[in-house]
């Protein structure tokens, strides 16, 4: 075994700030990555409750073919804000700002992210942006969906401009997070933590960060253009004055396709941590999984126009976008096959976290397969803009990202609170969620194929039966999510004490106490192998004092 790099000393890694005192500096305007991560999670879960309520309004409205609960105008506002909330205020903050902040700096053996103050700023842009989005209800919320295609969005109420401003703020926050994470991973890894020894969750954050940084800025440009078009009549998208509605679609999807990967790559990373831990077995094909994440991220920038096959894209452009999109199936397939193989020959501990991870494998596979269908232009000509799309996107975002988030919540909860979540409640929640989710979204596949367009407040009566099925199952799914929430709140005080490493996991965050102390490590460890060899001793040096009564490190003089 090659000798691990010697920790040089005297540098940033040993530069510890004194722990802030007082409630405000400690828990509100904190610069500690762990507190910021928890802040992100709490805020995002609060928005998830709001977005979930909107989702249930949608499902109740669609119980009857003639609608009935809301006017079409209100319904349009509801689903637009639902989509915007779930994408920008729930999934992305949870995966990057939340779990990213909380876990990955510890996993690379750092004491904090590269720019803690910037990190705090990133977080504090997020709640105001969310409130701005919901404030738009007071002035006529956006109605044209989360995509806000002009000229429709030019006709929308005053809230549409508010929407653009809110999402712009979120974008600034994401960009800063991306820069911060990228520099942290590039520069602040512990000695010996080479790229091929990084845990796969870190790899997930590493390929997501550039997406956050680059794609989100492009969205910022699009939103700024929409805003000035609406407020000052600047003719970007107005066809009557030489502008082009398709320009928005290009600018929007240049962000929003990579955003799809922002919403799934960190979840891939989580799954890649959870599966080997609970199978007691190295992740199968570490390098291929890491490499395929990079391939997905790069290809993700080259496929945006597959959302525009029916929009009037030049035929010569449709072909490369179709073929490139299909190519993404290859790295994604490699990942799924590797995960399934990781299960083979393991000693599988069926914890709630593991059940969500395995559920993720099944539902995400289905979402991925329908994604490949949609890449084929002729099929997309039929399915575009129908409930088939709704089904596909919820299979990847709920069945993929959200399942990953729930798996991660059960897995890393002890690292936040020092306690375990209740397993019995958790397993109930899993089965209810799994059944409710599939019952809600599976029928939407054939509803779309048969002719139900998306974003409608009322629909043809022959679709009513299946819509009712979807609505009833959605109540089950909501119940499951409430159960998870109750579980998390209840376990905060009453959960079983977890100790530092309840799952017997091997990445660095499990080698320090739970909850994690302010300075993370008493001594920055050295790393000399990848963390997945369950039959070997831990591949770290310098962790001997973490769990005993040794005194914490001395803060640097300032």
């Amino acid at each position: 075994m090659a000798a691990a790099a010697i920790h040089a000393g005297g540098g940033l890694a040993d530069h510890i700030h004194p722990e802030p005192q007082g409630f405000v500096r400690k828990y509100v305007f904190s610069i500690d990555h762990k507190i910021i991560g928890i802040q992100y999670m709490i805020t995002a879960f609060l928005f998830m409750i709001l977005g979930g309520m909107l989702a249930e309004l949608i499902r109740v409205q669609l119980m009857k073919a003639s609608g009935g609960l809301m006017t079409p105008e209100t319904y349009n506002e509801v689903y637009s804000v639902h989509g915007s909330t779930m994408v920008w205020l729930v999934i992305i903050p949870l995966l990057t700002g939340g779990f990213g902040n909380l876990i990955f700096p510890v996993q690379i053996g750092a004491r904090d992210v590269a720019f803690p103050w910037l990190n705090m700023l990133s977080f504090w842009l997020f709640p105001p942006a969310g409130l701005m989005l919901y404030a738009s209800f007071l002035m006529g919320a956006p109605t044209a969906g989360w995509t806000e295609y002009p000229p429709m969005s030019l006709q929308g109420g005053a809230g549409t401009s508010m929407w653009a401003a809110a999402i712009f703020l979120i974008g600034v926050s994401s960009t800063m997070t991306g820069i911060n994470f990228l520099v942290t991973i590039l520069k602040m890894r512990a000695p010996g933590m080479t790229f091929t020894r990084m845990p796969l969750f870190v790899w997930g954050q590493f390929v997501t960060a550039p997406l956050l940084m680059i794609a989100t800025t492009a969205l910022g440009a699009a939103l700024a253009a929409l805003f000035v078009q609406r407020q000052f009549g600047v003719a970007f998208f107005d066809p009557t004055r030489g502008g082009s509605p398709l320009l928005w679609q290009h600018m929007f999807w240049f962000y929003s396709h990579p955003a799809v990967y922002i919403m799934i790559l960190p979840a891939f990373g989580m799954i890649s941590e959870i599966l080997p831990t609970f199978s007691r077995k190295p992740i199968f094909g570490y390098k291929m999984i890491a490499f395929s994440s990079c391939a997905i991220a790069i290809l993700g920038f080259m496929v945006w126009a597959h959302h525009m096959f029916t929009s009037g894209l030049a035929p010569a452009l449709q072909l490369p976008f179709m073929v490139l999109t299909m190519l993404i199936a290859i790295p994604t397939g490699v990942k799924i096959f590797s995960w399934v193989t990781t299960l083979w020959g393991g000693v599988i501990h069926m914890t709630t976290s593991m059940m969500f991870a395995i559920g993720f494998l099944a539902t995400f596979t289905l979402g991925g397969i329908t994604g490949v269908f949609l890449a084929a232009v002729p099929f997309d000509l039929h399915a575009h803009g129908t409930y088939f799309i709704v089904a596909h996107l919820h299979y990847v975002l709920v069945g993929g990202s959200l399942m990953g988030i729930l798996a991660g919540l059960f897995y890393w909860y002890p690292k936040m609170s020092g306690r375990l979540m209740n397993e019995t409640l958790g397993k109930w929640a899993f089965w209810l969620f799994f059944i409710g989710f599939n019952g809600t979204f599976l029928p939407m596949h054939w509803l779309g194929m048969w002719g139900q367009p998306r974003r409608v407040a009322m629909y043809d009566p022959q679709f009513q039966a299946w819509n009712q099925v979807a609505s009833y199952f959605s109540f089950v799914m909501t119940a499951a999510l409430i159960l998870v929430l109750v579980n998390a709140l209840w376990s905060m005080r009453n959960g079983k004490r977890s100790g530092p490493n309840p799952w017997n996991a091997r990445t660095l965050e499990w080698q320090i106490p739970s909850p994690m102390p302010y300075y993370n490590f008493k001594h920055v460890p050295s790393v000399f192998a990848a963390p997945y060899d369950f039959a070997e001793p831990l591949p770290y040096r310098g962790l001997e004092e973490e769990l005993d009564g040794a005194p914490p490190p001395v803060p640097a003089a300032h």
Binding site: L12, I214, T217, A218, V234, G242, S244
Partner: protein
């Protein structure tokens, strides 16, 4: 630590060997700043894409738009590029330990930057179109306006750096902030090379 190394004149510093903490922090900050520049570049690129897309979709260019003054733009561009050169000298002189030369060159840069902005004002007056008048107004004023804002922010940035340097915030061996300011100013210059080309030469 910086305070300890300030000389009696309130700037510059002893030729003290940078410590490990400084070296690592400098690397972080420079890398973070470069990534910020990349995302800023993406912002400009998006609008440049929008401009080229609008220009090439449908009716011909300039779509009855007003005429640009290329002579003014040429001399104005040279003013801005010249400010890039003076900024380069400013940093070089700081590296060689001369505060007064640094100050002269950075003041020169600020003046040239302000000159460029006044040139832009002249150009806006000359064109006489409005932001809301058609796709020309949309793309030209948005892009050059955004660039103008960057120049304006840069002038303030450089002024702050000059004042900080005069107060002894940087030493001749520890000057990350000055490096970042120079990077930013060069970035603003180089963006103008692109904007100048696509609006005046294409």
């Amino acid at each position: 630590m910086a305070v300890a190394s300030v000389t009696q004149r309130g700037y510059g510093g002893l030729a003290e060997e940078p410590d490990q903490l400084y070296v690592e922090t400098r690397e972080l900050r420079i890398q973070g700043f470069l990534l910020f520049m990349v995302s800023d570049l993406v912002l400009f690129s998006s609008f440049i894409f929008a401009y080229l897309y609008l220009r090439n979709s449908g009716q011909g260019w300039p779509a009855g738009g007003p005429k640009l003054d290329i002579a003014l733009a040429a001399v104005n561009s040279i003013v801005l590029f010249g400010s890039g050169a003076t900024m380069h000298f400013a940093l070089e002189n700081w590296k060689h330990g001369s505060f007064s030369k640094f100050a002269n060159w950075i003041v020169m840069t600020i003046i040239l930057g302000a000159g460029f902005l006044s040139g832009q004002v002249l150009e806006y007056i000359h064109i006489g179109a409005r932001w809301s008048s058609g796709i020309f107004g949309a793309s030209f004023y948005t892009l050059t306006g955004m660039h103008g804002l960057h120049v304006f922010a840069g002038i303030i940035y450089l002024t702050v750096l000059l004042l900080q340097a005069a107060q002894g915030k940087y030493t001749f061996t520890k000057y990350t902030g000055l490096t970042l300011g120079t990077l930013y100013w060069h970035f603003v210059d180089v963006i103008w090379v692109v904007l100048f080309s696509i609006f005046y030469l294409l």
